[in-house]
């Protein structure tokens, strides 16, 4: 048993002392962890446009694709056997992004949702999951990327201020397949996401990118686990966050496990946090556990810093006023990741939201 696996292994109702729960404000989880949540099935996730040929989105009775020890996910699975399944047919290459959005908002309850995204062998797609409004969501998302297939998953948490969202995004990546994910968390009261990747065949690769911006009172946790079970897989993690305001709190945990069989592994993970004010707290914990020395590379870096006054001086010495200069620097900080989304409308919307959060924080 690896110490890293125990990070997720908390099958009982957590009391907050467990490694996997030590940062999370349990009292603000809308009862998802202890079974007191008023859970409902809503099927709130719907495509915003007609699906292209070779893509289906249906309700099925389905087994989970993976085992988990996360208590919230297990409660969701015990609650419902119904799964919304998005399937991309074999060999299909879908160029247009498939956008799914939450359409039904019921504030007093908690939606327990199970979703599977399945890419059959040698298919390719970009899937966008949009979360907006004030809502409580327990999300069990499973992803299967078939042999030689490629999925880009963009998960947007643009929640309103009271939303509570606990989600597990687990990807199984087969031989020569690519799973790229980009997580954006800019809204909500509590957001706790567990992006995890399990390599099922050699030649598989993943890139996990993320940005988050927490303002006063918000708690955003991103806890990833990349499991190198097989040889010659590659993983890259890069999450960037900004914090501003009293009791803004972010947590980034990057667990990477290179098992004895995983020769030729190439992994690097990076987390950067930008503290824009006093009273905010960023926790950043990279963990690397290595059981074989026969690897290409393994590394991690984590930085948490304040706003760079030299950048501010440089921009202001060109006549740019202080608030515009700050906005430029923060936009620039996030741009590295946001520009990877590749969908201009979404990029512009997120940058506008970031501007918005920044001016809220300044007032």
């Amino acid at each position: 048993m690896s110490a890293l696996q125990s990070n997720l292994l908390e099958l009982h109702t957590p009391n907050g002392r467990e490694e996997a729960w030590r940062f999370t404000p349990l009292k603000r989880l809308a009862g998802m962890h202890d079974g007191s949540a008023k859970a409902v099935e809503l099927d709130s996730l719907q495509p915003v446009a007609e699906l292209p040929q070779g893509v289906t989105f249906t309700s099925v009775e389905a087994e989970a694709l993976s085992h988990t020890d996360d208590i919230i996910i297990n409660r969701i699975r015990a609650f419902t056997g119904n799964v919304r399944q998005l399937k991309i047919a074999k060999d299909r290459e879908i160029d247009q992004p498939i956008i799914l959005s939450r359409t039904i908002i019921q504030q007093a309850t908690v939606e327990f949702a199970r979703v599977q995204i399945i890419l059959e062998p040698h298919s390719r797609a970009t899937v966008v999951l949009q979360n907006e409004g004030d809502f409580n969501l327990g999300e069990d998302l499973e992803i299967h990327v078939g042999v030689g297939a490629k999925l880009t998953l963009i998960s947007l948490q643009e929640w309103g201020p009271t939303s509570v969202h606990a989600g597990h995004h687990h990807a199984i990546v087969e031989r020569d397949a690519t799973f790229n994910s980009l997580v954006v968390t800019v809204g909500g009261s509590v957001v706790r996401l567990l992006p995890t990747v399990e390599f099922a065949g050699p030649g598989a690769s993943t890139e996990l990118l993320g940005v988050y911006f927490a303002t006063a009172g918000q708690y955003f946790e991103h806890r990833m686990f990349v499991d190198h079970l097989v040889p010659h897989a590659k993983s890259r993690v890069n999450y960037k966050g900004a914090l501003a305001g009293q009791d803004a709190h972010t947590v980034w945990i990057g667990d990477v496990f290179i098992r004895a069989a995983a020769e030729g592994t190439d992994t690097y993970e990076l987390n950067r946090n930008l503290l824009l004010s006093d009273g905010a707290r960023a926790d950043s914990v990279p963990n690397l556990e290595i059981e074989t020395g026969e690897i290409v590379g393994a590394g991690h870096a984590s930085t948490t810093g304040r706003f760079d006054d030299e950048q501010l001086f440089y921009l202001m010495s060109r006549g740019i006023n202080e608030s515009d200069a700050r906005r430029l620097v923060v936009r620039g900080f996030f741009n590295e990741i946001v520009s990877q989304i590749g969908i201009e409308e979404i990029q512009d919307r997120l940058m506008a939201r970031i501007d918005d959060e920044l001016s809220k924080a300044a007032n």
């Binding site: 030299e310 440089y314 921009l315 202001m316 010495s317 060109r318 006549g319 202080e322 515009d324």
Partner: protein
């Protein structure tokens, strides 16, 4: 016609060992169209003078005045100084990750001109400024100073000098880190900006070689936090021959 007037300027910095006075009473007047070279050994306070005029927060003004056409520069914020017409070409320009050169330049031009320059004209302006400085077109989409070579950073500074059209420009060791060819290209840029806009230039340098390309009207020798000798271009030749030894009390 603009005048930057520095009178009795004293500046100190806070270090672990307490406050240290770097500038010990500097007097200097720069008018439009004039080029003043400040020469001096390392550590004499030349860069402190440049950054103090630009308003860097690290430096504390303990005495004296700086005015631009009568307006009190020391009372202004950093951005107000730039909008009043001051420009500092930095020795070590700062990297701003994720902000493209074109976005940066347009934001700065908008701030300095009071309105966004018309897009089509602006694109042409930037293009010709880049061509004149022999910069590749891809430069505009790179992030500000990120991964730039020493020469690229200096070209970028001088491109800003040409585009932002200040009244008075301070060039802080613009010649450092440049090879012979780059030095010529950058110097030509400074001369163009002088010609086009009648800029007053304060050129800070350790070496005389840049003065072969940019003709100074006045040369000031800086040592131990103040100006210790003043003259015309012939003073630079004397420094070339004799060095700074006689000014640093060696």
């Amino acid at each position: 016609m603009s005048t930057l007037e520095i009178r009795g300027l004293k500046v100190s910095v806070t270090t672990e060992g307490g406050d240290v006075e770097i500038l010990k009473g500097v007097d200097l007047t720069i008018k439009s169209g004039e080029t003043h070279a400040i020469m001096g050994p390392n550590g004499s306070g030349k860069s402190t003078l440049a950054y103090s005029i630009a308003g860097h927060p690290k430096y504390t003004i303990t005495g004296g005045t700086v005015t631009l056409d009568g307006a009190d520069v020391l009372e202004m914020t950093v951005d107000e100084r730039a909008r009043a017409g001051l420009f500092l070409a930095m020795q070590y320009p700062v990297e701003v990750p994720g902000v493209s050169v074109s976005n940066f330049l347009r934001t700065a031009a908008t701030a300095l001109r009071g309105e966004a320059p018309k897009l089509r004209e602006w694109v042409g302006e930037v293009k010709s400024a880049m061509e004149a400085l022999k910069m590749d077109a891809s430069f505009a989409s790179r992030n500000v100073n990120e991964g730039f070579s020493g020469g690229e950073k200096k070209r970028h500074e001088i491109m800003q000098l040409e585009l932002l059209r200040p009244k008075i420009a301070i060039l802080d060791e613009t010649d450092s880190g440049l090879d012979v060819d780059a030095l010529r290209v950058v110097s030509e840029g400074v001369n163009r900006a002088k010609e086009a806009n009648g800029i007053g230039v304060l050129l800070i340098t350790h070496y005389t070689r840049i003065l072969r390309y940019i003709q100074p009207d006045f040369v000031h020798v800086f040592a131990n936090g103040k100006i210790v000798e003043e003259g015309g271009p012939e003073l630079a030749e004397k420094l070339e021959a004799n060095g700074y030894a006689e000014y640093v009390g060696a």
